[in-house]
Amino acid sequence: MSTTPPMLQIKNLWKSYGDNIVLENLNKNVEAGEFVTLVGTSGCGKSTFLKMLLGMETQTRGDLLLDDQPIATEPDQARGIVFQQYSVFPHLTVLQNVIIAREFEKSPLLGKLFGGRKKAVLEEARQLLERVGLSPAANKYPHELSGGMRQRLAIAQALIRKPRILLLDEPFGALDPGIRADMHALILDLWREHQLTIFMVTHDLTEGFYLGTRLWVFDKVRHDPQAPNAYGARITYDLPVGDMPHDTFNQIQQSLNPADTNEVASASGETP
């Protein structure tokens, strides 16, 4: 594996459904280890973009390259995902939810491990649960967990196979603000420790500013009132965001003048 090409290359990427153009002409490179936050109004195509990264949608035109290869057109273990909900398996305990990925990997026939092989995997899973703070709940079922704990589990589950890219689809959207702050700290720590490459879709602009290294704003540049679907969204802002102390963060937020960003966001909010 050569290290020269960027990990993820987006070249002239278009996505449309019939006449409805969702994304037009995206061109970006993302290096390994970056933490990209995707913001934009609903319907701006950021979720479509995430689905293309995941392999659930295919581009209409252009290239999406992971490690210089076209990205697989169905989900696989190269890309981990945490959804806002339904991310964990309700019929498995916390521990079983984490080891299932290893069981898929090591047992093609049954998808289940027994005896000594299971023991080794369980040990690995316990350490991961310890890391995300779920050890006391290891034998509980997901319905017995709070929303925040469930997302911790979903993250642990996604991490065990060490995906090239970790995709987070509004993972903290349903959580209380206090819990959300804890989760931010956790995801930042994990990102540093495991040297992850993360794409996170969020509604919350401050979340976008605080987390990660890069902020992408999805928005429509051209707009035809007669044909609202004729033009797709582009990435209108590509801002470097540091993993910085809190006061620096405030300065940058002020210098960026988020009021403008909000205006852009609300203007495109009128498009259906």
Binding site: Q85, Y86, Y141
Partner: protein, 273 residues
């Protein structure tokens, strides 16, 4: 005075209210039966509990003069065996068909419309065909239950399969799961409690087909017995048999409900999260 929608009876009162209709029905029966028997001691329509007890004692605890069997237990065993076979096979067929057509779009396309049409065929109308094809033996009776119940279970499981959140299937794939893995580790375990539920819902139809088939062509079974003694107006046998069938149906349902609650705690406590 609170609104009626806000009035909830206390627990003992609730039990009492629940039992009251049963007691009332029994009381009305006893009064009516007594009144008729007083006019005509040979009346067969509303036998007294003593007469029913005698009839049942004869069937349950005295060997039949003709065959030497204890008819009541023989009937019960035959019927339960047919029902278990029929519903069991229907559950397996229905589960596999429902799972595969629900999970795999390439199988859904050719088989889902067929399944819809098959489930609309009235099974009782097929009974003559089953008698012609399979003869009058056990097979045709079991086959009727299968034909009556399997399409319903298949469609129910198909719907349940499609209702499992797509996110879970995608998540499994990002964890490296193959189609087979998704079936055996994600879908089947989550569909088992739903299968038990589908079986519970289809047991009513199962009993219907069983008794109909036994009533038309059989040599034993609960349905056979009540259709047989109808010729002699033997209400003293028919009524206890109907009560017994109801009790059996209740017990089977109760067992299924409780085993589901024991085996699939996560399903009953939480549902989808």
């Amino acid at each position: 005075m609170k609104r009626l929608v806000n009035l909830t009876p206390s627990r003992p009162l609730k039990v009492l209210l629940g039992l009251a209709p049963f007691a009332l029905i029994l009381l009305i029966y006893v009064i009516a039966s007594d009144a008729r028997l007083e006019v005509n001691p040979n009346d067969k329509l509303l036998p007294s509990f003593a007469q029913m007890g005698d009839a049942m004692h004869r069937l349950a605890f005295e060997p039949s003069k003709r065959t030497g069997e204890y008819l009541f237990w023989q009937d019960t065993a035959s019927s339960l065996q047919r029902l278990a076979l029929g519903v069991g096979i229907a559950a397996v067929i229905g589960f596999v068909v429902g799972l595969l057509t629900g999970a795999l779009p390439t199988l859904n396309a050719p088989f889902a419309p067929l399944l819809t049409v098959i489930s609309l065929v009235p099974p009782m109308a097929l009974l003559p065909i089953l008698f012609i094809v399979f003869g009058l033996g056990e097979l045709s009776k079991v086959a009727l239950i299968i034909f009556g119940v399997a399409p319903f279970i298949a469609r129910d499981i198909q719907r349940c399969t499609q209702e499992i959140p797509k996110e879970q299937l995608i998540k499994a794939q990002t964890l490296g799961a193959s189609t087979w893995h998704i079936l055996v580790r994600v879908l089947i375990p989550q569909l088992l409690p739903r299968l038990i539920n589908a079986i519970r819902l289809s047991l009513g139809a199962g009993w219907l087909f069983l008794i109909a088939a036994e009533g038309i062509a059989s040599t034993d079974g609960l349905g056979y017995r009540i259709f047989l003694v109808r010729r002699y107006l033997s209400m003293d046998v028919i009524l206890p048999y109907v009560a017994w069938i109801t009790f059996l149906a209740f017990m089977v349902d109760w067992l299924l409900a409780n085993s589901s609650r024991l085996l699939f705690r996560w399903h009953h406590a939480g549902g989808n999260t």
